[in-house]
Amino acid sequence: MQPIKNIKDIPEFDLLTGGSSVCAGCGPSMGLKLALKVLGPKTIIINSAGCMTLLPLFPNTPLKVSWIHNAIENAATTAAGARHGLDALGIKDMNVVVYAGDGATYDIGFASLSATAIKNERVIYICYNNQAYGNTGFQCTTATPYGSDTKTTPRGKENPIGNTTIHKDMLKLMGVHRVYCATASLAYPVDFLNKINKAKERDGFSYIELLGTCATGWNFDPRYTIKISRLAVRCGMWPLYEIDDRKLSLNKEFKELKPVDEYLQLQGRYKQLPPDGVIKLQSLVNEHWAELNEFNEKRYV
């Protein structure tokens, strides 16, 4: 498939129907709908336990492609198994795609992800990162940003910051596996789909991390799903970049980042973050942005 140039080029078919029981305005559901436009009907989605597990609910499924839900920590290795099974049958034209949340990816499923990546299995791993365990009601993962209020890092007298752990630098971790990795945003669908397309053309493992903008967990009006996704990129909380063969490329460059304030203020999870927390968060963002700019178009990992 040729790279997509603008939104009008995005294929006009949908392999994810409506009628599922995920929340109104669900970012991860939108992400899957979009990804399937590039992946096409010959695709098996491997899902780990999380919000997206509720897309199908017996006897109905919104999926027009195959789907395997195994458990939470093993989507990558389930995918590896499916790939080996297809290889054994001589079927080469099917995509095996993981669609897993950040808890399943950063935390409980990291061993199976790492093993599948380092063996360069022909699997596209898409992490829809909504920065918490969403399906259980928004608890902290190691993808949760500093300063986020979650159910297991609530703000209170003893700790007004909420989550004080600095999230894992997952792209860097995946980069050292020498696979193609990229971040993506729903507000930049052309960039996202071209990254899926790039992954699809690879004869190996790819890791794409989509900011899984989540109205319910982040506590905002679902109409702002795209607005917030766009702001995340603009303020440097979710920079768009890729690592290919250990080299870094920034995909959206800005002379100056917007301050994080506007992004934070739109979301309930940051509403009560005290000023020193905002300052700390801003400095973390600045530090990461400087690092990405320093290594842009250079060997990064």
Binding site: I7, K8, I10, E12, D14, L15, L16, T17, G18, G19, S20, V22, C23, A24, G25, C26, G27, S29, M30, K33, L34, P56, L57, F58, P59, N60, T61, P62, L63, K64, V65, L186, P189, A215, D221, P222, R223, Y224, T225, I226, K227
Partner: protein, 94 residues
């Protein structure tokens, strides 16, 4: 039911869904507090509403977007993102 009254259903007793995309017929309209309304006159056919609908409740045709109110959950992303206000919102009556 007594155990001996149970019958083995073969493949129909296996928890898989063999009818792809059958959730399209599931009615989610009761989730909605507001509904999107399309105004063709203001539309520039940019496809943004179609692209950003998380529930595939907007189909794209030669005449532009067609809203499926069975699937629409009323998230209003299409209304928010439409650059020309061709999508507006209306309160649901009930």
């Amino acid at each position: 039911m007594r155990e001996e009254e149970l019958s083995y259903k073969g493949i129909h007793g296996i928890p898989v869904i063999l009818e792809p995309g059958n959730a399209a017929r599931v009615d989610r309209s009761s989730w909605r507090l507001v509904r999107p309304v399309y105004n063709k006159d203001k539309c520039t056919m940019c496809k943004i509403c179609y692209t950003y609908c998380p529930d595939s409740a907007i189909a794209w045709t030669k005449e532009g977007p067609v809203i499926n109110l069975t699937s629409c959950k009323g998230c209003m992303i299409c209304v928010e993102e439409c650059p020309t206000n061709a999508m507006t919102q209306e309160k649901e009556s009930s």
